[in-house]
């Protein structure tokens, strides 16, 4: 299997898992069984998971190993915030909280600290591209995703992203599922909620009814929001183990768990897709994955996840031929400080053509300019029906 094949498998798996799980978000396993039996067919489009992953992949393609939190924050300011003129469709608390912090002039890591949803799975859901970019190097994948995460998350929210990026990096190099999950654990402190949940979830798979045991092991009962990174990541990696790395089995089991089902499906699909390559993603699923609408992030409208994977693979190949990249002596799992070593790679590295540019400058996007005062359409509209925020509420 080629590297490029695994890259496509990973991101197609992410998009398919996102789309498959979307209607099951916030439902209980019993409700999902009642409605679908086993949810195996994609009904509609993907959500924020896919669009934010495309955004992250674009940052990686542009900046490579030189990506920093400051560059990510600049990208939010230039390409995300101008389009948020009304509702920020599809955004969880951490995304809008980050936008508010940036609007107030704060810089990372405070942008991820001052809002109160720092542990959301908003980074974990978009972490897979970092693993794709760093095949066989889980530590570097974790370091890079931390740069992104410090803008919008804190604490366990960053750790969830590290775990996913590391698992994907291992799977991209052919690790089997148990080794990929070990790679995830190696990227987070043992004394963390994320690590404890992954270990507990793994152990729960031995139970007679793994779905029930997984809920008992890691699901927080007295809290109404389900986008907790330690929970979603543990459930997704458990699904990947349960499906023995097979995309369809991993993802369908993952979304059957309910909770943040689209993100669980996206993460399970990404790791399994990295293991199995593009052909590992069921054709009938892949056929449903077209260019994204930009409903959540107008700046990525029109991008096809396959092209994003190819661009990321090209960026990786380019970076691999370069002699230097930041050292990792200052590796910091908590993500509270800048990476050590010298950042010799500057912004504007080759591969920048792959970046989703602000609407108006990207021919592929074909969207009108979305600057301040841009049209309601560019902002995702505000009256066209319930957005993902409303959908999240339905399961409460």
């Amino acid at each position: 299997m080629t590297y490029r094949d695994r890259a496509r498998g990973c991101l197609l798996g992410l998009a398919a898992g996102d789309a498959l799980g979307a209607p099951a978000e916030n439902l209980t396993p019993e409700e999902i069984r009642h409605r679908w039996g086993r949810l195996t067919e994609i009904e509609g489009g993907g959500t924020d998971d896919t669009e934010y992953a495309i955004f992250a992949a674009g940052l990686l393609a542009e900046h490579g190993h030189g990506l920093t939190s400051a560059l990510v924050a600049a990208a939010y300011r230039e390409r995300v915030i101008p389009a948020v003129t009304g509702p920020m469709r599809g955004a969880g608390f951490s995304e809008l909280g980050t936008v508010q912090a940036l609007r107030r002039g704060l810089e990372p890591p405070l942008t991820g600290l001052v809002h109160q949803h720092g542990w959301s799975d908003g980074l974990a859901m978009r972490a897979a591209p970092y693993g794709v970019f760093c095949p066989g190097d889980p530590a570097e994948a974790a370091r890079l995703v931390t740069e992104d995460g410090r803008v919008s998350q804190s604490g366990e929210g960053i750790l969830g992203g590290r775990a996913v990026a590391a698992a994907v990096a291992a799977a991209m190099a052919g690790a089997d599922p148990s080794d990929a999950v070990e790679a995830a654990l190696s990227a987070v402190p043992a004394d963390s909620w994320t690590a404890r949940n992954i270990v507990r979830a793994r152990a729960a798979l031995g139970a007679a009814d793994p779905a029930v045991a997984l809920h008992e092991a890691v699901v927080v009962r007295h809290y109404p929001w389900t986008d907790l990174a330690p929970e979603a990541v543990a459930l997704a990696l458990a699904a990947y183990l349960h499906g023995e790395g097979d995309v369809e089995r991993s993802v369908t089991f993952g979304v059957s768990l309910g909770r943040d089902a689209d993100t669980i499906g996206a993460i399970a699909g990404a790791v399994a897709g990295a293991s199995q390559g593009e052909r590992g993603v069921p054709e009938r699923w892949a056929a449903r994955i077209g260019p994204v609408t930009g409903r959540c992030l107008p700046v990525v409208a029109g991008r096809d996840i396959r092209d994003v994977a190819d661009d990321l693979a090209t960026a990786h190949a380019t970076a691999s031929t370069r002699a230097t990249r930041p050292g990792r002596a200052g590796e910091n799992p908590a993500g509270s400080g800048p990476p050590g070593g010298t950042t010799t790679e500057s912004a504007g590295t080759p591969g920048s053509a792959a970046l989703p540019r602000p609407a108006g400058s990207a021919g592929a996007a074909g969207r009108p300019p979305a600057g301040p005062g841009g049209s309601a359409d560019a902002a995702g509209g505000g009256t066209a029906g319930p957005d993902a925020g409303d959908e999240r509420m339905e399961g409460l």
Partner: protein, 322 residues
């Protein structure tokens, strides 16, 4: 325990607790469950009929006493802490596990679940979606009165900003009880809040906003603009309520009668910022400085969160403590 400033901190917290609008909603927990269901239906009615007449806690065939002005969750959890702080904290909380008649914040409810599944402190407070809330900061008033560190208690239910908030409140209360100085109390709190944390950043931001306004009530819009992001669904984050309390304590010069009403006007934070503000300013000014009319309604607990505390008198409770 005795002393004018000690009693001032405890009654001050109860006054602030009672002054915030959520108190009546907590106290309505003493009504039959269908009563609160009707309240939710009236909310839906207002939405459906587009009427701006919003429901308030009401008593249909129910006793009216719970809806009289009075303390609620924060005063009860402080009283529970005062009564149990002689026992190891994990054990004190473990004694609550399995009870279906208590009400507590998300952080506390999750910590009790964690203890039940064998997750011990500090993980019980850390592996917790509301590790950042101010449940421990409220309980920390009890530790501040004794000049003791709140960490062992705080770590059962909180971590991060939630733990720092507890340290800040304990430090401020201890300093206020010792000196009566609002400025020194706030300085003592700032000394334990690192600038690179959300709570440390927000505390300095809130103080700057309040100083610029120069007056507690005048500072309300500035605090709202500087501190609140209005994104998240709950307003009990220690990184918000503790800074608001510190800022209003300082700008009021430690005057409860000026600081608490302003805290109650920060609607999103009104569940606990007034209580914390009342504790800090009550400690500064002492029991004697609390407006006379507030003492009688504030001193008696309702039992809306911990039923065994129904009717408990806070002044008598303090007299019974060594």
């Amino acid at each position: 325990m005795s002393g004018d400033r000690i009693a001032g901190a405890v009654i001050g917290l109860a006054v602030g607790d009672a002054a915030g609008w959520p108190a009546a909603r907590h106290r309505a927990a003493l009504h039959a469950p269908w009563s609160r269901r009707l309240h939710r239906e009236l909310d839906a009615f207002a939405e459906e009929h587009r009427v701006t007449t919003l429901p308030v806690p009401f008593a249909l065939n129910q006793p009216t006493a719970p809806l009289a002005v009075g303390p609620s969750d924060d005063a009860e959890w402080l009283a529970w802490t005062l009564l149990t702080m002689g026992t190891p904290r994990a054990g004190a909380f473990r004694a609550l596990v399995g009870r279906d008649d208590i009400r507590a914040r998300v952080s506390v409810a999750t910590a009790l679940d964690n203890l039940a599944r064998g997750v011990e402190p500090p993980a019980s407070g850390h592996d917790n979606p509301h590790h950042f809330d101010d449940a421990a900061a409220v309980r920390a008033v009890a530790y501040g009165l004794r000049g003791a560190a709140p960490d062992e208690d705080a770590q059962v239910t909180n971590a991060g900003d939630g733990l720092l908030g507890a340290r800040a409140v304990a430090a401020a209360v201890a300093e206020a009880v010792a000196t009566g100085s609002a400025a020194k109390a706030v300085s003592a709190a700032l000394a334990v809040l690192p600038e690179d944390t959300a709570i440390g950043h927000n505390a300095r931001l809130a103080l700057a906003a309040a100083r610029a306004a120069g007056d507690p009530f005048g500072a309300v819009p500035a605090l709202d603009a500087a501190l609140l992001d209005h994104v998240y669904s709950y307003g009990v984050g220690a990184a918000l309520t503790v800074p608001a309390a510190l800022a209003l304590t300082e700008v009021s010069g430690g005057e409860l009668g000026r600081a608490v009403p302003a805290a109650a006007c920060l609607a999103a934070l009104a569940d606990s910022a007034p209580a914390l503000t009342g504790a800090l300013t009550g400690a500064c000014g002492g029991y004697g400085a609390i407006p006379e009319g507030w003492i009688t309604p504030a001193r008696t607990l309702a039992g809306c969160c911990l039923p065994e505390l129904a009717g408990k008198d806070l002044i008598e409770l303090l007299k019974g403590l060594s």
